[in-house]
Amino acid sequence: MWLKDQSMQKKSRNIKSQLFKVGFFFLIIGIIVFFSTPLLKLRGEVFEEMRLAIFQMNINKDNTTINSINTENLIVTDENNAVREENDKKANYTYIGQLSIPKIKLKRGFVSKNSKYNNIEYNIAIAKEADYPDKAKGNFILMAHSGNAYISFFDNLYKLEIGDTATVSYEAKDYKYKLTKVYNQPKTGQVAIYRNYNIKTLTLITCTHNDDYNQTIYIFEEI
């Protein structure tokens, strides 16, 4: 009887310890799953900071070069253009510019239109139809996700109000814009942009906050 009792006690202790191990394992898995999204978001932010630092450093380097070279070299020839286009195509994750909106603490680079990373799954994407910011009276169109994922760069755009400012840094020059119009459109795969064609514009497009069926268009005009 005594031996039986002891073996029963041992068995129950074993079961308890096994249950504890399984519980502990699931707890760890739960913690990992629960914290994975915010941690991934923070990791994305850290990588983004470094990319911007590299981008900023390269801009500074380029400026020094431009200041020190002979002005004869500044004449743009067709040959130079070809090299520039070639470089543009080669660019993979090298930022060519940066969008910053101080009110919502947004600071994010964008890659060239030809880069495979010019995609809302990686970055703030430039629309194919967009003009670069240096084009007079052009429309620079940017798109990005909103939501909770770490690629939701336009998550806080809904907090913007008319008159808020945005800056686009492109080719070592800053272009300042002011928000003038915000409107919604249904998500049909296409978007109509209503803007003043006599003013250089920045257009930001993202999904409407807490709405699965609409997209919001933010029209900024150059100051």
């Binding site: 915010p38 923070l42 900071e49 900023q56």
Partner: protein
């Protein structure tokens, strides 16, 4: 910032009495302190538990009122850890190499360590130091200035080397901590027996 020593001292002493809230906070902490001291004499378990729960309640209230700030502070702490892991600056990276070197020398000189422990430690430290040396040689070949962190990580090969050496270093530290705690526990158990 440019205060003299006496001014600093006076400001520090005046601080708890600057506003009603400051006086309140000061009194709460004084009362907690007196209770803790008094309870050391009495050794009352109930008072101990009440004090601990009061302290936890006080900080929970702080967390509740400053929720957003605390979340941003926490995320900043996590980001700093991530920065140290993914993009450590050269000072931090050299520091890890020095720690690795000290562990290697200590393991080599210490005679009462097990062979398996020595082998594992040698493996981790040698790989870490090898990667560090490789990093330095790459910096020389790429002609990279190590003072600017962004300058280092624009080279993919340097980023990969640093990442792997950080992983090895973390594994080494985790192994050392686990071994240390197990060893202490094991020796304590032996002493008890």
């Amino acid at each position: 910032m440019d205060l003299s020593f006496i001014d600093k001292l006076l400001t520090f002493l005046k601080l708890p009495f600057e506003s009603f809230l400051n006086i309140e906070i000061f009194l709460i902490f004084i009362i907690l302190y007196i209770f803790l001291l008094y309870n050391e004499k009495r050794c009352n378990k109930k008072v101990k538990l009440t004090l601990i729960s009061l302290i936890i309640f006080f900080f929970a209230c702080l967390v509740f009122y400053f929720q957003e700030d605390i979340i941003s502070v926490l995320s900043e702490i996590i980001k700093t850890i991530m920065r140290c892991f993914y993009f450590p600056n050269i000072v931090f990276y050299i520091l890890t190499a020095i720690i690795s070197l000290i562990i290697l020398i200590y393991t080599n000189l210490k005679s009462n360590l097990t062979k398996l422990n020595k082998i594992i430690t040698y493996t981790f430290t040698i790989i870490h130091l090898f990667l560090f040396t490789n990093f330095i040689s790459l910096a020389i070949t790429n002609n990279t200035s190590l003072t600017n962190t962004a300058n280092i990580y624009q080279h993919d090969n340097m980023f990969v080397i640093v990442l792997f050496s950080q992983i090895i270093f973390i594994l080494l530290i985790i192994y050392k901590l686990i071994y240390h705690f197990c060893y202490i526990r094991h020796s304590k158990l032996k002493n008890i027996k």
